[in-house]
């Protein structure tokens, strides 16, 4: 009983804003849904499933958003596992459609992190009230610090250098220069990254994602229905999700959730690493990309440094990565998982203009949520236009 090719992404829309002090989060979300439905050739009346998260602290945020949109869906999912949530939502929507729980499901995200001056990475990590937080918050953990500790260990175990991490940032910026909506588009060099101030050692400012306002939406339906719509369907072939954490104090820090979620997605899709034409990899920080590529199995653990050198991740390289410019240069309002799926869909449909990957037929998406060095989630998708 496989999920493969039962559902497809038929609408994908990234809100063009990166700074919107005049708009609320909900308005950004509503506009994103409108854009995605127009992209799909469907209307709000067709929608009977909704996935979203990131709204308020009550856990009931999705109900408030349904109120705002006057929706009464047959399927709701507000799985809240950090930035990867929307990648997981895509998988959950596919499963719901395959199971007959709904027929047209919207996944949506919106945030005003920039105009609300929300310090995403340096405002302190941890919710504060969970048991695990009590042994951490007294010491001053930050989200960036958690990732930095993984980078520090990676350098110690494998000899990875700041130059190697910097190349990831340089490639993301190159891609952003070809994306009119990206927040930062001026090219940078490895020297620029190394010269930028250290936020939490060994991560420099330019190793860290930007802060923007933004939003996006996806429309997902059955493969059958997708074939009647106007654009090439983006079929969901494989999915996987899991978490990693301190593991009672026994964790291997350099194994991340991608090791498990990626293996599940590849097994379920029945494809090989060499078949992947595009990798959309959550880039909260440069180390996130390097550790993810290793743990997904594109290279061996420890070889990430060499793997990213020489332009391999360029849109015209061996493994194009984050062709929109990523969270490092284009868009990161706090949780960017939805943008990974949106860009993958556009690439698979051949809609990316100057940054289009040639012969792009199979894409992998991997979202990481939370703090890599403390506790995080991973969600992987494999998508195809055939």
């Amino acid at each position: 009983m496989s999920l493969s090719r039962k559902a497809a992404v038929v609408g994908a829309y990234e809100h063009p804003t990166r700074f919107a002090p005049d708009k609320s989060m909900f308005q950004i979300m509503a506009e994103s849904i409108r854009g995605a439905l127009q992209d799909a050739g469907l209307t709000i009346k067709d929608v009977d499933g909704l996935c979203t998260t990131g709204i308020g602290m009550s856990g009931m945020g999705i109900v408030g958003f349904c109120d705002y949109m006057n929706l009464t869906p047959n399927f709701v999912d507000s799985t809240s596992i950090g930035g990867s949530s929307f990648v997981a939502h895509t998988a959950h929507a596919a499963a719901a459609i395959a199971a007959g729980l709904c027929s047209v499901c919207v996944v949506v995200y919106g945030s005003t992190a920039a105009s609300s001056r929300f310090a995403i990475g340096t405002g302190g990590a941890g919710g504060g009230s969970d048991p695990c937080d009590q042994y951490e918050i007294p010491y001053g953990p930050t989200t960036v610090g958690s990732y930095a500790m993984v980078a520090q260990r990676h350098m110690h175990e494998y000899g990875t250098t700041s130059e190697q991490l910097a190349e990831i940032a340089v490639t993301m910026r190159l891609h952003a220069s070809m994306n009119a909506a990206a927040k930062y588009r001026d090219p940078i060099t490895i020297e620029d990254v190394l010269a930028s101030r250290i936020i939490s050692s060994p991560l420099h400012l330019l190793d860290c994602c930007i802060i923007s306002d933004g939003g996006g939406a996806l429309v997902i339906t059955s493969a059958e229905r997708a074939r009647d719509l106007k654009k090439k369907p983006v079929y969901i072939l494989g999915t996987g999700e899991t978490v990693r954490h301190v593991a009672d104090g026994h964790r291997d820090f350099l194994e991340i959730a991608a090791a498990q979620s990626g293996r599940l997605a590849f097994e379920r899709a029945g494809v090989a690493h060499k078949d992947i034409d595009l990798a959309m990899i959550y880039d909260s920080f440069t180390i996130t990309v390097m550790a993810t590529l290793e743990n997904l199995g594109f290279c061996k653990r420890g070889e990430g440094g060499a793997f990213v050198r020489g332009g391999r991740l360029r849109f015209d390289g061996e493994l194009p990565c984050n062709t929109d410019g990523g969270g490092l240069s284009s868009n990161h309002p706090g949780m960017r998982g939805i943008f990974l799926v949106i860009e993958a869909a556009k690439q698979l449909r051949g809609e990316c203009g100057a940054r289009q990957v040639r012969d792009c037929n199979l894409a992998l998406v991997h979202g990481t949520g939370g703090a890599l060095g403390t506790r995080h989630s991973g969600a992987t998708l494999i998508l195809s236009n055939q």
């Binding site: 340096t122 610090g145 520090q152 009672d248 104090g249 820090f253």
Partner: protein
Amino acid sequence: MAEQQQKKYSKPLPHIDEENRPWWEALQRHELYIQKCRDCGWTRYYPRALCTQCLSARTQWMRCSGRGKVYTFTVTYQNQVPGFRESLPYVMAYVELDEGVKMLTNLVDCRPEDVKIGMPVEVVYEDVTPEVTLAKFRPAR
């Protein structure tokens, strides 16, 4: 210690409850413990009521030597949280205790630039308030 009592401690404090109280009270006595399951032998930090491997509630408290090594660290230069933003830069680290578990902590009594992974460290207890003592680590003497 006298200076700390005069200035109000402004950093976040842990929430102490019945599940973790014995561990925090031990820190006040300047003792560091981890837990070991009496049924399957699995060791764990941070303290919890049940073993995660077999769900047993039979717990042995193991007194730690207080010694370990730096497993990884970061020197934090930016933190907006009140209390911490006045103490920048400071060192976050995971220390791997000799007993085999890693705990998140701060490294103190050393220059940030001198911290190295693998560096031997020893626990130092900070009585930050009358109710709370924190376990931090300094280079082993």
